[in-house]
C-alpha cells in the first residue's frame, strides 16, 4: 500500500488536469475490471460485474489543489489564484512545480500596514527576469502544485501534498485487485474536479446511475495540539462519516459500514465534520437520488504540503470495504 501511495502522489494532477493520474490508474486497474471509459470531464469510470444485487458507485478523486497563474508581472513574478481550497498559511516559502517541470518558489509579497493576506498577495518566483521570459517558461492558466515528494513519518505514517485524495485512490485500486468473489456490482469512479465543487462526481453519477454511492476521501483528524474540531484520531481506524457540510450519510449505510467493520475485526471511528464535503454530496443529488455515505481516512494537516495519514488506518479501511461490498 505504501509504495502504491508513493507512486500515485508523485503524479501531477490538480483539478482540471488529472489526465496523467488517470493514465497511471488505468494501467494499474485494467486487468481487474470489465470495462474502462473516460467521460467529458476526464472521470475514469471502471465497471466490475459482481453478484448483481446492487450497483455500487465508489468514488475517489484524482485531483488535488493548486495555484493557477493569472498574470506575469513586468519583473517576471507570477500572480496566482486558487484551484480548490488553498490556505494562505500553508502557501509561504513553498517549493512548487508545474506540469512541464518548471519549479519555483511560492511566497508572499511584503504587506502594507493594515493590509491582510489574500491570494492576491501571493506570487511565484520561477527565476525569470521579466514577463517575457516568464511566459516563455509557463503560460497563463498553467497550474502549480506543492512540490514535496511523499516521505515516511514514524514507523507507520506517510506524508505528501497529494494524500487528499490519492490515498483513497490507492484504496480503491487495492479493492479492485482484491475484490471478493461475492461482491455486488462495483463501478469504481476516479473522479475529477472534486476540490472545486465535486464536479466530476456530479456528471459521472448521472451517467452511471448507481443504486448507492460511497465516497472514499480523507477527513480532518482533530488530534493535534489545541485543535478542538472533532474526535477523529490517527491510528484508531478508518472513520465512518455521519455528516459533513455537503451530506448526511444514510443511516442504513452507516449501520452497514459499522457492521462491516465488526465483521472484518477492524476498529473504526465515527466522524462528524462541521465543514467540508465529499463526492457523496454530489452523488446523492443525482437523478432521483440515492443512499450515500463516506468512508474517511483520518488525515492531519489537510490541504498542506504534508498531509499525513496512518497506514494502519488504510489497511483497516480496505478490510472494511471488502466486507461492505458483500453486504
Amino acid at each position: 500500500m505504501k509504495e502504491l501511495i508513493k507512486q500515485l502522489t508523485a503524479v501531477y494532477g490538480p483539478s482540471g488536469s488529472e489526465g496523467s493520474v488517470a493514465d497511471l490508474i488505468e494501467s494499474l486497474v485494467k486487468d481487474h475490471v470489465d470495462s474502462i471509459r473516460r467521460d467529458a470531464l476526464g472521470n475514469l469510470i471502471c465497471e466490475r460485474k459482481g453478484n448483481g444485487k446492487k450497483r455500487l458507485m465508489l468514488a475517489a478523486h484524482m485531483d488535488h489543489i493548486g495555484l493557477i497563474v493569472t498574470h506575469a508581472e513586468k519583473e517576471g513574478f507570477l500572480r496566482v489564484s486558487a484551484v480548490g481550497g488553498i490556505s494562505i498559511n500553508h502557501s509561504r516559502a513553498r517549493r512548487v512545480k508545474f506540469q512541464n517541470g518548471v519549479e519555483g518558489v511560492l511566497y508572499e509579497q511584503a504587506l502594507k500596514e493594515n493590509e491582510k493576506s489574500a491570494l492576491t498577495t501571493l506570487y511565484i518566483d520561477i527565476g525569470a527576469k521579466d514577463a517575457g521570459e516568464a511566459l516563455s517558461m509557463v503560460e497563463i492558466g498553467d497550474v502549480a502544485v506543492y512540490a514535496e515528494a511523499a516521505f515516511d513519518v514514524g514507523k507507520s505514517r506517510i506524508a505528501s501534498p497529494a494524500i487528499d485524495d490519492r490515498a483513497a485512490c490507492a484504496l480503491l485500486i487495492e479493492l479492485l485487485k482484491n475484490l471478493p468473489a461475492d461482491s455486488c456490482d462495483i463501478i469504481a469512479v476516479f473522479t475529477t474536479q472534486e476540490e472545486v465543487g465535486v464536479r466530476g462526481a456530479t456528471v459521472s453519477a448521472f451517467s452511471v446511475a448507481p443504486d448507492e454511492g460511497i465516497a472514499l476521501d480523507v477527513t480532518v483528524a482533530g488530534d493535534i495540539p489545541e485543535l478542538k474540531l472533532n474526535a477523529v484520531k490517527l491510528g484508531e481506524g478508518p472513520a465512518v462519516k455521519i455528516k459533513d457540510a455537503r451530506s448526511i450519510s444514510n443511516p442504513e449505510v452507516v449501520r452497514r459500514m459499522l457492521a462491516a467493520a465488526r465483521a472484518a475485526g477492524v476498529a473504526c471511528q465515527r466522524e462528524v465534520l462541521p465543514y467540508g464535503g465529499t463526492d457523496a454530496g454530489a452523488m446523492q443529488l443525482s437523478r432521483g437520488g440515492m443512499p450515500v455515505g463516506t468512508l474517511s481516512i483520518p488525515c492531519r494537516y489537510v490541504h498542506s504540503a504534508c498531509e499525513t495519514i496512518d497506514l494502519g488506518d488504510m489497511d483497516g479501511a480496505l478490510k472494511l470495504l471488502k466486507e461492505y461490498v458483500r453486504m
Binding site: 483539478s15 482540471g16 488536469s17 467521460d39 467529458a40 470531464l41 472521470n43 493557477i68 493569472t70 498574470h71 508581472e73 513586468k74 500572480r79 489564484s81 486558487a82 484551484v83 492576491t120 497563463i140 492558466g141 474536479q193 472545486v196 464536479r199 456530479t202 456528471v203 459521472s204 448521472f206 451517467s207
Partner: protein
Amino acid sequence: MEGLSGREEAVRRAVMEICEGKLGKAAVKLDGTGSVIAVRPAKNPALPRVMLAAHMDEVGLLVLSATEEGLLRFTGSGGIDPRVLISKRVKVGYGEDGIPGVIGSPPIHLQSGDDGNTAPKIENLSINIGAKDKAEAESKAPIGTPVTFATPYTPFGDGYVCAKALDDRVGVYNLLRLLDAPYDGELTLAFTSQEEVGLRGAMAAGFIVQPDIGIALEGTTANDLGETPDALKVCEPGKGPCVSFMDNSSMADRGLFRLMLEAGKAEGIDHQIKKFIAGGNDAGAIQRAGAGAKVVVLSVPCRNIHSPSSVCCLRDVDNQYLLAQATLARLMKG
C-alpha cells in the same frame, strides 16, 4: 428593452420572433424557466453536439414596498453594489407602462462627520417617483415591480458605447447572428433566463440539451482604468473578446480552450485571455448538466459591469461573433 431575472418576457418575445423567423417555429422551444432553446439538427451526426448560450436577463432592482411619504423601498435583482445607485435615474416598470424615478442621496451640504465615509446600504436607499403618499406609490409600483437603469444607449469615444445591460445583451446579439453560423453538427442556441441569480435557466436548458460542448457568450468585468495594478485588471476593452481558462463556476476544458485560441490566431481575430478568476456564468451549469460537457467561455470586456453605465468596445463585440464562428469552423475539422 427591459428584462430582469424571471421577468425576461420582452427580450424573450423579440428573441423568439427572430429565431422562429430564421429556423421555423418547430425548431424553437422553451424550457421550464423561460429560456429559449433553438435547435439546428445535425447534417453530420458524427460531429460534437454544441450548445451556445447567452443570457437574456440583466441586473436591476425590485420594488418591495412604499413608505408613508410615497418613496419606494427596493432590493437588488442580481449582484448590485449599492454605491453605484446613488444619484441615478431609473425606469420603474416595463415598456410604455414604465415611469421615471430617481435614487437620491442626502445632499452633501447636510452630511456630517462620518456620513461621507460609510457606504450606503440598499435598505437605506429609496426611489422617488414623485408620488404624494403611500397609496399613490403602491398603486403605481406595487411589490415586485421591476426597475431598470434608465441609461440611453450612447456611442462615444473611438468605437465605445455606454449603456445598461451590456451583460449580456452583447451575447444575445451575437447569438442571434450565429443562428445561421456554418456548422454541420447539431447546434443549439440557448437564450437562457435567470443567469444573474444563479445560472438557473442554463441548468434547465443544459438538462434538456445535454450537449457535448458548451460555449457561453458573455459580458465580463473589465477593471483596466484608474491605475489598477496589472494583475487585477481582469481584461481590457479594445483588445478583443476574452477567453477564460477558469472562473468560479467552471474550469475550461484545456483542449477546447486551446482550440479557441488557435482559431483566433489562425483567423487573425483580436482576442485576449481573461486574467483574473471572478464571477460565474452559464458554462458552469452546462458543464455539469447530465453526463457532463466540455466548456469554455468567450466574453466581451465591459467596464462598470452591473452598473447603470457599462462600457464596452464595439470592435470586441464583433470579434466575439467572429471568434465564436471560427471556433465552430475549427470544431468541424475534427
